[in-house]
Subunit: 346 residues, 4 copies
């Protein structure tokens, strides 16, 4: 069978170039077009020496004769790229935030200005395969989740679905610096962020409503989400520490809560090839460079709390890898196709 | 006036050697004895080349003719060292955990085995100068706080004292690796912890009861403390992110809560030379190598929560520097004596 | 065709476990036995959570019914493991230093004590595929090169083969900390080596004679090798900066030396799938997690010098990946089989 | 005695702000003016939270009523700032490269364009106190050395002065990223340079002629300098590894060369309070945050080579600290005044 012809719009950011890395190694894909405005005309391998074997040249404009498009444009600009492609009948994965929030008012609140393309919101599917596998397979447009929401929702979903929690949901996340992108900023300048940990977005982060949306879909009584991200001095990885209060109803209806929590988590992810419910506290290094997510739930009787810790590689499972996983589902390839690389340790 | 003659028992750990660095530069101190079992007989500057100018030789045993002793022994062993010194009339700062918890049952629960010296618990003073300045000045034995409790309690104290909070207190801390000490372990082996973030002590950490004890002293209605530490790939620094629910009583009795929070924090630390209430989210780099603590409180109306973030250098304000601050108070030196070094940035 | 049945002796070091990672993903290999003394009986995935999908249990002893064995034992112990296996007719790759140096006197000088198995030295092949591809394919026992020699020799070989250099050969190498192994030492303790660069082995490093041996094979007039390694605070990667003085004979016989150098390097590696002669100064990040080696030669007319810089991932091309490349050649698989993973950037 | 009134022109780079840190703590100095174009009007402590106690506001223009000026402007712009100040009779330390090279042709070759102020070259003194202490004390204008030259020249000077070396001088330096400054560039973006080592300036670095100038002053037969800098993933520190060939004349005239080398180094630095000739290979961490330089010479009989390794903190001894040391000499303060801080380890 012929490979599908795939394009990446805006290959020059970290998600874009990690998509290139994965798609160049994908057996069912012919990556035949990559675009990037400021670097158009340069060879991909000149800008990114790790892709030294590739003959691709960065194009100024998308070749729309392809079968499948990944848009790695910034939000707003991405919707403008995506809309005509969808109209043309192409299948598209949008890596930006434009089609993640179902409610355009939420978009307006968090991203500033009206939604650039509200008419596509209804048909766009939130691309977290572990929650929406079936709809993704049938979608024409998939909104790839944010990096923080991927880790946080995978940590929370089984508890939400089982009604284990009540009250506020606290998510304290620690991200490597690549999550802030390839654009130059003082806060990602080596000497500024190395040997330092800092909280940021203390007034609220755009990924909060995304986490909240998916929690509320799973549990209509889900509480408020308090989400606080931090930057830690490493390149890749997100560890999310989630604090939930156990529902009294759930506790009283459960014979062995400790066992029930673990079982609920294992059952929820029984068919998820990339999520592993683990017995020991995870570290981001356990998933480095891979599409895996490790989830560690722990019940604390002293405080009637459920602690759940998850780890992902923010650019793979939290970005490019998840996008490829979605493409696999949309195209009928095995879900793990081209994504089997084991984490690189140490 | 003559300098006081000071000794460090067990100089070879990170707190011990940072004490040596600070005391060698302290104008009122003659550091005349440092001990260390396995390295006894070696010159201090041979084991620690950054102290190249010192002529001190590591001794097998303490010279008890000194005026003042810092014990940097591990817990239990430290109490055994401290007891005869106190009996002898020496003034002592114990850097270990042995005299921090007032309740010997708590000690037994968290440290395993009965307290080695319960008779000194009543007179020992918990050495957080910002809370107990007066008692420290009069104490013969001061228990230097743990690194995590220093940062966490400084973040929480003004809120506790003002009755701002109700319900659980969540403290999510991120520590540099030096906090784990100089003993070799797999989790502090460079290739294991570099480029990785991990939670640890998920079954409970010994510093929790210490945080709880001081919160409860300030607010008899203080809730449970949920404390989760993490290891991040940097050498020094602790950032603690604290999540509090605002008390409805306090909210209703307060005209402008946002302003009231900041004012309460500023007032509480008006006389504290090393604590700075800051307007922007702090980073551990802002206090690197110094005895300062930056505290950043922020009120979130959406969720009726108070977020407080604090930063310290775990070995200085969270260890050796705080111990010197306590010594200054105990000896009648200016509180900042020998501790004025500004943070080293970047 | 059936997969070959492969074993790893001593899987618990960094080279051993990276071999496991690569072999678990190799299409022609059934990794059916991994050994490790102190951790025998544990599941591989328990000790190494990044291998979470594997069902392998660490064995106390080798199952000698396999087809192919990698020995990742320390030197001396490795020869003792390897000898009976070779006698038994198995094909073996020794990752240790035991069979790298052809001259047993050199071994004795650098490794202390007589060679444990000199009778195998003649038939063992030095496993640098780019120099010895044909002999490796026919060998029963291959000595996998050291990490530093791999990078240094690949940088030097074309110049040596062309007689470009005269006089001393200076190799200044900078290695990530994983090169020092998984055993705990003070110099690889995070707080000691993070934020620090240091030279080590200033009295001479065991990898020097290995570099010298291969240089002398290519150019009988090759000068002395001065090799100085350094530890830099990163996990993986070796960058070697090599300083050569250009031979006057070669210079006088060459029409356009700048062009000639580049052409000689390109020609030398024309058939080497993993070596890339690059136009811009390389960084270790360009090859991270991959089996590639980037080589950058530059001629300096001012000083009549040739500067050559090479980069490898010390655990892949400098260890486990090179071993798999050798296995591929020995077994008649394509040289790149199971080694196609692109470098992970950033 | 009244403090001298000091200004820093362009406080916002890393050398500028580290000057501010040191001068704020200097007992003889009243830092009363700091300038910075783009950030003028902001409080110093707002831009640099580690200086939280300072009330200084960044000024758009220099207050020329001060006694002493540090110019931390970029080269060329600095000469333009410095010239009128010198004419006015102020004493000035120029941290830029403008007055380091005695030969204006060399300046033109390496910095592009004619020297902006050649008439001051004759009277300007190269501010390496260990070589030019007397002239510095009498100078009106001191050219503070570059960071690399400081480390390299301190490593080489005793050998040059004693005529130990012949032939090329190879200096392979490894620098922390802060050396590249506070301006944003892709090569100092965290995700690009973390976990990576790279050579740069392979076509020649501006600090080479500076090293050469001082070597030639000490030894008129000094060979060519081959200087290759590298960027390593740490914030502060430079380690320079220097390779010299021993002069046959010197070897034959020396009874015990090994002893003679160490003695020559010790003698040369007998009166230098910040240079330590050490017995064990140094690490940049041994001098972190301090004005010390550790120098380690080692003779290799096998290759008739002298290896010398030096370590400095690039922003202190390689920048701001050295500038304060020069100011001390110029103003008749003790050379170590305000510079006594011990290195911060770990």
């Amino acid at each position: 069978m012929a490979q599908i012809r795939v394009a990446i719009v805006n290959v020059t950011g970290y998600i874009g170039v990690d998509l290139a890395r994965l798609l160049l190694q994908h057996p069912e894909v012919d990556l035949c077009c990559v675009t990037g405005r400021s670097l158009a005309g340069k060879r991909l391998s000149e800008v990114f020496p790790h892709l030294a074997g590739s003959e691709l040249v960065i194009q100024p404009e998308l070749d729309t004769s392809v079968d499948f498009v990944f848009s790695a444009m910034p939000h707003k600009a991405s919707a403008e790229v995506v809309e005509p492609l969808v109209k043309q009948g192409l299948r598209v994965i949008d890596v930006s935030a434009d089609f993640r929030l179902k409610d355009p008012h939420q978009y307006e609140t968090w991203y500033g200005g009206p939604h650039p393309c509200p008419q596509l919101l209804a048909s766009a599917v939130y691309g977290l395969p572990e929650l929406h596998r079936t709809e993704i397979a049938q979608a024409q447009l998939v909104a790839n989740p944010g990096c923080y929401p991927t880790g946080a929702i995978l940590a929370l979903a089984p508890a939400m679905a089982a009604g284990m929690a009540e009250g506020d949901i606290i998510v304290d996340s620690k991200s490597g610096v690549s999550g802030a992108g390839r654009s130059l900023t003082l806060s990602t300048h080596f000497a500024e962020c190395n040997e330092s940990v800092a909280a940021y977005a203390v007034e609220g982060h755009r990924h909060m409503p995304e986490i909240r949306q998916e929690c509320a879909r799973l549990d209509s009584n889900a509480g408020e989400v308090i989400f606080q991200p931090h930057l830690v001095p490493m390149t890749r990885g997100i560890l999310s520490t989630c604090y939930l209060r156990l529902s009294q109803d759930w506790l009283q209806g459960t014979f062995d809560p400790e066992q029930a929590v673990v079982q609920a988590y294992r059952d929820f992810y029984a068919d998820a090839p990339f999520v592993r419910v683990v017995d020991l506290p995870p570290a981001t290094k356990h998933v480095w460079g891979s599409n895996y997510c490790h989830v560690f739930p722990r019940l604390d009787f002293r405080t009637a709390r459920l602690l759940v810790i998850s780890c992902i590689d923010n650019l793979v499972k939290g970005g490019a890898g998840e996008a490829v996983q979605n493409m696999n589902l949309m195209c009928g390839f095995p879900e793990t196709c081209g994504l089997g690389a084991l984490p690189v340790y140490p």
